[in-house]
Symmetry: C2
């Protein structure tokens, strides 16, 4: 296992045309690889505008089989560039059954992990429960040649349980492909507080678990009929003490390249030994709902 | 159940003389009550300097029976002022068996809850495992006439599990009596990052659970032989969206008085419905240790 690696987070705008998104992402992946990134992660569902703004049956045609033609493209690319790719896709498992899925492709072009988003939101403008069945594969850590990594997806980032379980399985970097933004009408009143809460939660996962956290968001204003989301960017990498070590702007396409020293994980956990002191003998209530715990 | 209450957090310096600490705390409790606080909380182990800076057998004589002479004083005071008091004590359960305990006394002067600190630190200068057996009563929420409240203690604040379990049991304000500070030698290099991590974790508990969080710390430089801790104050109250609504300085005795509107809990949880989406069917690994999960 290597002691260091370099990761690349690709913060993009997303266009109406899927081929354009595909070309754009391939170009940016190549750019990140040239800059020495060994693990490259793209935002949630980066191949299309965020279709969950409305409940629209016609959008199911965007779903992909895994493996399938789209994953084949990225598998070939990973092999060509000799990098690890983390790719978020609208997965068609079978007829009438769909997931929000993140895969890890290794530097030999093989899909080595599939994670199906476990926590599914349903809020005005984020109608994901309409499209996605909650994940059925549990939480994942993958041992790669460039480090032990875990992939979670967007809404998962509000759940300490998801981060904890992925870290307990061994992951030393938690990746969160994301699609989150402001409702333009709410932005003035709540925008700062919302963005700040989002950042705070991810820093807390780094601290509580002594791991690196990488969040990768899209940017841009996307409109679907009279609905709008201003995706807020702010892709970032957080060290195991909770310090933000790289951060993108809210309105700019950007490729964040960041060196990761895995020795910081062990060092932080020796100085802040939270894993040592968990009271697993008294945590059964975590498997229950409010008032039943 | 009332829809609003007022809480009072007493950020104090602690003196060598226990009687002086007792008098000081009674005076400040009366001050908070005059200012309409209905739930008043003091810092962790506020009756003595933080003796866990060293392992010293003579300090076991500081331990109290609960109920006992000290709790009787606070029970009478709670009744006299008609307030709820949250009091942190070094508890002697029985011969050779001690806890770091927080009690809730209601406005009739009755002890209505006892919480024994579940997560016990052991770090240079914080040798708590020498003094305290980890708690054996689990996590607690108490229905009072002034709101549903939970008491956790200091090191617990680094564990998302503790906050989650207390919230799942119904608590709408999580209180953290605390004794945390800087090692003066480390302060320049790590001080900001440490304080920031501490604040971040508590904000994350508020956000993840949609609850108010109140942290109550001591201030002052305490020396034991060649050991020193500069307690960093920064007592604070955080709303269910993670915003800090009141905060003390790091070097000043202060009584934070804060109005709490419990309707914010329900409102926040409707807008950020995290409790709705927990995957209790996939959380069993939380009852395991690293690599076993």
């Amino acid at each position: 296992m290597k002691k260091k690696t370099t990761i690349g987070l690709i913060q993009t705008k997303v266009f109406e045309n899927q081929n354009k998104n595909l070309e754009n992402s391939i170009k940016k992946i190549k750019n990140a690889a040239r800059r020495n990134a060994k693990i490259i992660c793209l935002p949630e569902l980066f191949l299309s505008p965020y279709f969950c703004q409305t409940e629209n049956h016609s959008k199911f045609k965007l779903a992909e089989k895994i493996p399938g033609p789209i994953t084949n493209i990225f598998c070939n690319l990973a092999k060509e560039l000799s990098v690890i790719l983390m790719i978020s896709l609208f997965e068609k498992k079978t007829s009438g059954f769909y997931h929000n899925t993140s895969i890890v492709i290794n530097e030999n072009g093989k899909i080595v992990s599939k994670y199906r988003k476990m926590h599914i939101p349903d809020d005005p403008g984020y109608y994901e429960k309409f499209y996605f069945t909650p994940g059925d594969l549990g939480f994942k850590s993958i041992n790669t040649n460039h480090g032990k990594i875990g992939s979670l997806v967007c809404w998962d980032q509000w759940f300490p349980e998801a981060a904890r379980l992925t870290a307990l399985k061994g992951a030393e970097i938690l990746f969160y492909p994301t699609a989150i933004g402001w409702h333009p009408k709410e932005r003035k009143k709540f925008g700062n507080s919302q963005l700040n809460a989002w950042i705070t939660m991810q820093r807390s996962h780094a601290i509580a678990n002594g791991v690196f956290v990488a969040a990768i968001n899209r940017i841009g204003l996307e409109k679907v009929k009279n609905k709008k989301i201003q995706f807020w960017g702010n892709s970032m990498i957080i060290d195991p003490s909770g310090n933000i070590i790289k951060q993108s702007k809210s309105n700019k396409e950007e490729i964040l390249i960041c060196d990761i020293d895995f020795r910081k994980v062990e060092n932080t956990r020796q100085h802040w030994p939270f894993l040592r002191d968990r009271r697993i003998d008294y945590y059964k209530g975590l498997l229950k709902n409010p008032e039943d715990a």
